[in-house]
Symmetry: C2
Subunit: 138 residues, 2 copies
DNA sequence: GCTACCGTTGACGTTAACGTTAACCTCATC
DNA sequence: GATGAGGTTAACGTTAACGTCAACGGTAGC
């Protein structure tokens, strides 16, 4: 482990680490997903900001919109203003977990079907190589 | 049981069944995901077309693009032209399965973290209702 | 023949999530 | 003091995935 224990990061450091552009990172800020400190003009990202970025990118891999990712980030760290709405937050978390459960089912189904498709292909391949009819086998 | 055993469907039937618009269905055709028969001008969708629609919508729930869904649909039913490229197809299927595996991991992690977040919220809720300090509990 | 309903083909509008370009600042270095 | 490597804001461009008209065609019922 190495550079993970840093306390702050520049925008290009993060961009390079996660393989995205600085433009994207600024865009996430524009959309309220990040609120980095400033050193004069320049942005300074904390370790917490970096974690938020990780959450954002994971969200993207799962097909979440930035707004959904923002919601989820807020679920992790309810701020003081909202913490009296704890019950609402809990409901939101449960909703999202339900959605993820359905997504999980979709995912498993699709994986299984692809597995079957692969099996069929392998079979067809074995068959065609055993009995090369039209396309000559060189 | 019921209307699933039909052999053909109108565009509005499918739209209603899946809660999407006819415009969307025509768009999928425009993008090469569907190729319904015609009765004069009108489109007629077969049971197979309906299945493809199901795959498309599942793909969307998983965050796939229409192009990715089209690829996957082709994986299920390799056409004659491509069947001599069976090995390539198998590779594509394996790639996609690898992607889905990673997505599965992301999903599980996120679910687990949300579970923990929920637990923390519940704890905070119990604590604040045992000791109502600022916000009165009415 | 008129109306209602379902379908069609354009064609333009919209939103999300950035990409791209321009014009500028700031600091270190040659 | 010119140059280069990073950073900034502002503004327009782009792509995917449709939404939203507009204008029109077939047919079933009155």
């Amino acid at each position: 482990m190495g550079s993970n224990r840093k306390k702050s990061f520049s925008i290009s450091e993060l961009a390079k680490e996660f393989g995205i552009t600085t433009r994207a990172i600024r865009f996430y800020e524009e959309k309220g997903l990040l609120q980095p400190e400033r050193n004069g003009q320049a942005r300074i990202y904390s370790a917490a900001d970096r974690v938020k970025l990780i959450l954002i990118l994971r969200g993207k891999r799962l097909g979440l919109s930035l707004e959904e990712s923002r919601d989820i980030i807020e679920m992790y760290a309810p701020d003081q203003d909202n913490s009296h709405q704890l019950q609402k937050l809990i409901d939101k978390i449960r909703d999202k977990r339900e959605q993820l459960k359905e997504q999980l089912n979709d995912l498993k189904t699709m994986m299984q079907e692809l597995e079957e498709a692969e099996a069929r292909c392998l079979e067809a391949l074995a068959y065609s190589s055993a009995k090369p009819s039209k396309t000559a086998s060189r």
